[in-house]
C-alpha cells in the first residue's frame, strides 16, 4: 500500500518533464524496488482563502527543497524519501486544531507552520498538551515564520523551534536603521490588530524612544486583520498627521492594499515593513514603490552571497517559473531538521529536538546560523533591503523589481536575552 502510494507520487511528479530532469527522476525510478517508507512531514498553513498565496509559496519551497537536496540524491536515513503532506489550516486557530487532529491520525510527527503568530501560539499550546498526555507519540513544531517574541520567551516550549528572527530582534535592527536617518522626525505605526501587530507597535515605540527620543510617534493604529477593503481612510489620517515615515507589520493583501493606498495618495514618505515583497506584492508596487519600501528580513537579498545559493534560486525558477524563493529560512529549517535526523539516525521528535538544540549549521548562503538551546530561537544575519529595479539579479514576481540589501548585521549582534523558562520533558 505504502509502496504503491510512493510510486504514484514519484511517477506523478515525473509527468512534468522539467521537474523530472531537474530532480533526476530517472534515478529515483531505478531505485524504487528498494524504496522504504517515506519520512512524512506536515506543512500546515493557509492553502485557501485570503492568505493562500503565502501558504502555497511556502509549500512549494519546502517540497522543492526536499526534492532538491534529498529525494533526488537517494533520500535520507539510508534511502528514505521525504514526503511533504499539506494541511490547510486557513490561518484560523480553530481550523488548526482540526488539522492537528488529522496530523495525529495520519501519524505525522513533524509540523512545519509559519503564518500568523496567533495560529503558532495555538499550535504550540495544542502540541504541548498533546505531548504531555501522549508520551512516545510526540509532535514537533517547526515554526519558520511566526515572529511574536512570546513563542520563544514566556510561552516557550521544548517542542517548538523558531527558524526566523522574532519581531523584537528584527525591530532592533530596523529601528537602528531608522535612527540613522536624520530626516525622520515623526513616525506613524499601523498594523493588523493581533498579537504580532501589537508587538510591532509596542516595541517600535519603546526602541525609538531609546534610540531617537526626538522622533515623535504621531499615530498608532490597528485595523482588523484581513477585513479592510480600502485603506484610503487610514492613509488620510497618515497624511494629516504629517508623518515622515510609516512602519507596519502587515502581510499579504493587507500589506499590498496599504502600500498602494499610501502611494496613490501621493504621499512621498518611506515605508518600513516586514513583508512587502513577493507573492504579487513586488509586481503590484512596481515603479511607484521604488526606493521607498524597505524590509527587515533574515539572510540577504541581492546580491546573493554564494554560488550554491544562486544555483538554488535558478533551479527553483526552472521548476517553478511563476514562483520565487521567498523564504529561504524554510530551506534552512528543513536542512537542520534533516541534519538532526541523520545525526540521531531516527525520526523521533524527542531525539530530533535534542539534536537541534545548540546546533550550528552552515546554510547554502555560506553563513553559520545557531539554534539557541535555552529558548529554541534561531540566530542569524539580519538585513534591511530596499525595493528597487537596480542591481537586482534575482527579481520577484518576474517583475524586474526585487530587493537589494542596504544594511547588514552579523548574527552575534542580533542576539537578545530571553525570559524563557523551559519545561523539559523527561524520558
Amino acid at each position: 500500500m505504502k509502496n504503491s502510494q510512493l510510486l504514484t507520487k514519484i511517477f506523478g511528479s515525473c509527468r512534468k518533464p522539467l521537474l523530472a530532469i531537474s530532480l533526476g527522476c530517472v534515478f529515483i525510478i531505478s531505485n524504487t524496488s528498494s524504496a522504504q517508507e517515506p519520512v512524512r512531514i506536515a506543512f500546515m498553513d493557509p492553502l485557501s482563502g485570503t492568505f493562500a498565496s503565502i501558504g502555497n509559496t511556502g509549500k512549494t519551497i519546502l517540497e522543492f527543497a526536499a526534492d532538491y537536496f534529498y529525494n533526488s540524491k537517494g533520500g535520507i536515513l539510508g534511502g528514505r524519501m521525504i514526503e511533504i503532506v499539506p494541511l490547510d489550516n486557513k490561518q484560523s486557530p480553530t481550523e488548526t486544531q482540526l488539522q492537528f487532529r488529522r496530523a495525529i491520525s495520519d501519524d505525522l510527527h513533524i509540523i512545519f507552520q509559519g503564518n500568523s503568530s496567533a495560529v503558532a501560539s495555538t499550535l504550540s499550546q495544542t502540541i504541548s498538551r498533546h505531548n504531555r498526555r501522549n508520551p512516545e507519540q510526540e509532535v514537533l513544531q517547526i515554526n519558520y515564520s511566526a515572529v511574536d517574541p512570546i513563542l520563544t520567551e514566556d510561552n516557550c516550549s521544548f517542542w517548538h523551534f523558531r527558524f526566523d528572527a522574532h519581531a523584537n530582534m528584527k525591530l532592533d535592527i530596523l529601528t537602528d536603521f531608522i535612527a540613522a536617518d536624520e530626516d525622520i522626525k515623526s513616525m506613524y505605526i499601523i498594523g493588523q490588530d493581533y498579537s504580532f501587530g501589537q508587538v510591532v507597535s509596542d516595541t517600535t515605540t519603546r526602541l525609538l524612544n531609546e534610540k531617537r527620543p526626538d522622533i515623535e510617534i504621531v499615530g498608532n493604529e490597528f485595523h482588523p486583520i484581513g477585513q479592510v477593503k480600502d485603506f484610503t481612510p487610514y492613509v488620510t489620517k497618515i497624511v494629516s498627521s504629517g508623518a515622515d515615515a510609516v512602519i507596519t507589520g502587515n502581510f499579504g493583501a493587507d500589506m499590498v492594499s496599504l502600500a498602494r493606498s499610501i502611494i496613490d495618495s501621493g504621499l512621498d514618505i518611506p515605508i518600513y515593513t516586514f513583508y512587502a515583497a513577493y507573492d504579487g506584492i513586488t509586481a503590484t508596487l512596481g515603479e511607484s514603490g521604488k526606493d521607498r519600501i524597505r524590509l527587515v528580513h533574515n539572510g540577504v537579498a541581492n546580491p546573493l552571497p554564494t554560488e550554491a545559493r544562486k544555483q538554488f534560486n535558478r533551479d527553483f525558477k526552472i521548476a517553478h517559473p511563476n514562483s520565487d524563493v521567498t523564504q529561504p529560512r524554510i530551506v534552512n529549517a528543513l536542512q537542520m531538521v534533516v541534519t538532526a535526523m541523520e545525526k540521531t539516525q531516527s525520526t523521533d521528535p524527542y531525539a530530533i529536538a535534542l539534536a537541534l538544540e545548540d546546533m550550528r549549521f552552515t546554510t547554502m548562503g555560506g553563513e553559520e546560523i545557531w539554534m539557541r538551546g535555552e529558548d529554541h530561537q534561531i540566530f542569524q544575519q539580519l538585513s534591511v533591503s530596499v525595493h528597487t529595479d537596480e542591481g537586482v539579479e534575482f527579481d520577484a514576481d518576474n517583475s524586474g523589481f526585487g530587493l537589494v540589501t542596504e544594511y547588514q548585521v552579523p548574527m552575534e549582534e542580533t542576539i537578545l536575552e530571553s525570559s524563557c523558562q523551559m519545561r523539559r520533558p523527561r524520558r
Binding site: 485570503t50 498565496s53 509559496t57 490588530d193 490597528f222 481612510p233 489620517k237 498602494r260 495618495s265 514576481d397
Partner: protein
C-alpha cells in the same frame, strides 16, 4: 482636522457607491427569485480578473467595457442553465446552488490566475490628482469611480421607474403569473435581470480591482458586507440598499477617521483602570480599531428593532 472630515466623507461616498453597485444587483435578484445569491460577490471578483486580463492586451478601457459584458453573459447562463432548473426543487436548493457556485468561482479563479495578487493598475490617463485640498490629494481615479457609480445609480433608477422595461420588471417581481398572462416572457425577464445584476457586480469589480487590489480573497472581503447592506436596507428594496450602502460607507470611513475610544469615554466619566486589568483590551479599545465590525453591529441592531430593514415591506 477639517481635511480629515472632508476626505472621510469623500472616501465614504466612494465606498458607499461601490457597495451600492453590488447591493443593487443582489437586492433585485432577491426580490425576483426570493433567494439570496451567495455567489454575487464572486461575479464582482470575476469582473476584476477578466478586466485585468483584458487590460494586459487591450488596455484598461477595453476591460472596462467588455469585462462586465462577459460577466453579465456568464450570469445569464448561470440563471438559464443552472438556477432555473434548481428552482423547481425549492429555495433551499437554490441557496445551496449559489453557495456552491461561490466556491466554484473562487477555486476556478485560483486555478486560472493563481493565488497571488495581480498587478492590475489604474489607467495612466487617470493617474493624476484630481484636486489637492489642505495637503491631501484626491486621485482622479477615485473621482472616476464615483462618477461611474453615480451614473449607474441614475441609469438604474430611470430604467426601473420610468421605462417600459422597468415597469414590466417591477410587475414581474410582484405578479409573475399576471405578467406572463399578459404575454410577456417572464423567464426571459428573470434571466435578463440576473445577467444585469451580475454585470453590475462585474463592473464594480472592474473599477474596484485597481484600488482595492485584485486577489482571490477579494470576494470574501466584500461579500459579507453586501449581505449586511441588503438586509439593513430591507430585502428587495432598491432605495433601502442605496441608503444602507451610503450609510455603511460613511459609517466606516468616519469611524476610521475618528480618534475617540473607550479611554475618552472613561476620562469623561472620571474612571480609570490600570494597565494590568483583566478587561484591559476593552478599556483601551478605540473606534478606528472596531470600524470594520460596525456594519455588523448595525445589522444586529436593525434586526432587533426593525426586522424588515430600513425600507423593507412587512411580510404578510
Amino acid at each position: 482636522m477639517l481635511e480629515v472630515l472632508i476626505f472621510a466623507t469623500l472616501n465614504g461616498l466612494v465606498t458607499g457607491f461601490l457597495l451600492f453597485m453590488l447591493a443593487s444587483g443582489l437586492t433585485l435578484i432577491f426580490s425576483m427569485m426570493g433567494v439570496l445569491n451567495f455567489a454575487h460577490a464572486s461575479f464582482y471578483m470575476l469582473g476584476a480578473y477578466f478586466a485585468y486580463s483584458l487590460s494586459l492586451y487591450f488596455g484598461f478601457w477595453t476591460g472596462l467595457i467588455f469585462a462586465p459584458i462577459v460577466v453579465g453573459v456568464l450570469g445569464a447562463m448561470v440563471e438559464r442553465y443552472g438556477l432555473r432548473r434548481v428552482h423547481q426543487s425549492g429555495h433551499v436548493a437554490e441557496l445551496v446552488f449559489t453557495f456552491g457556485l461561490a466556491f466554484l468561482i473562487e477555486e476556478s479563479i485560483q486555478f486560472f490566475w493563481g493565488r497571488d495578487t495581480k498587478n492590475y493598475q489604474t489607467p495612466e490617463l487617470l493617474d493624476f490628482p484630481l484636486f489637492t485640498l489642505l495637503g491631501q490629494e484626491f486621485s482622479a481615479y477615485r473621482g472616476f469611480m464615483m462618477t461611474i457609480s453615480i451614473g449607474i445609480f441614475i441609469g438604474l433608477y430611470y430604467v426601473l421607474t420610468k421605462s417600459r422595461v422597468g415597469i414590466i420588471i417591477q410587475a414581474a417581481i410582484t405578479h409573475p403569473q399576471t405578467v406572463s398572462n399578459l404575454g410577456h416572457n417572464v423567464p426571459l425577464i428573470f434571466m435578463g435581470v440576473f445577467g444585469m445584476g451580475t454585470a453590475l457586480a462585474g463592473l464594480a469589480g472592474v473599477i474596484a480591482g485597481p484600488v482595492l487590489t485584485t486577489f482571490p480573497g477579494m470576494a470574501t472581503v466584500l461579500g459579507s458586507i453586501v449581505f449586511v447592506i441588503v438586509v439593513i436596507g430591507g430585502l428587495g428594496s432598491l432605495a433601502g440598499a442605496f441608503i444602507a450602502s451610503l450609510l455603511i460607507g460613511l459609517l466606516q470611513s468616519y469611524a476610521i477617521a475618528s480618534d475617540v475610544g473607550m479611554p475618552d469615554l472613561l476620562n469623561l466619566l472620571g474612571v480609570s483602570f490600570e494597565r494590568g486589568h483583566p478587561l484591559n483590551d476593552l478599556w483601551t479599545m478605540n473606534l478606528p480599531q472596531i470600524a470594520p465590525v460596525l456594519p455588523y453591529l448595525l445589522l444586529v441592531l436593525v434586526l432587533i428593532f426593525r426586522p424588515t430593514g430600513l425600507m423593507g415591506k412587512r411580510e404578510e
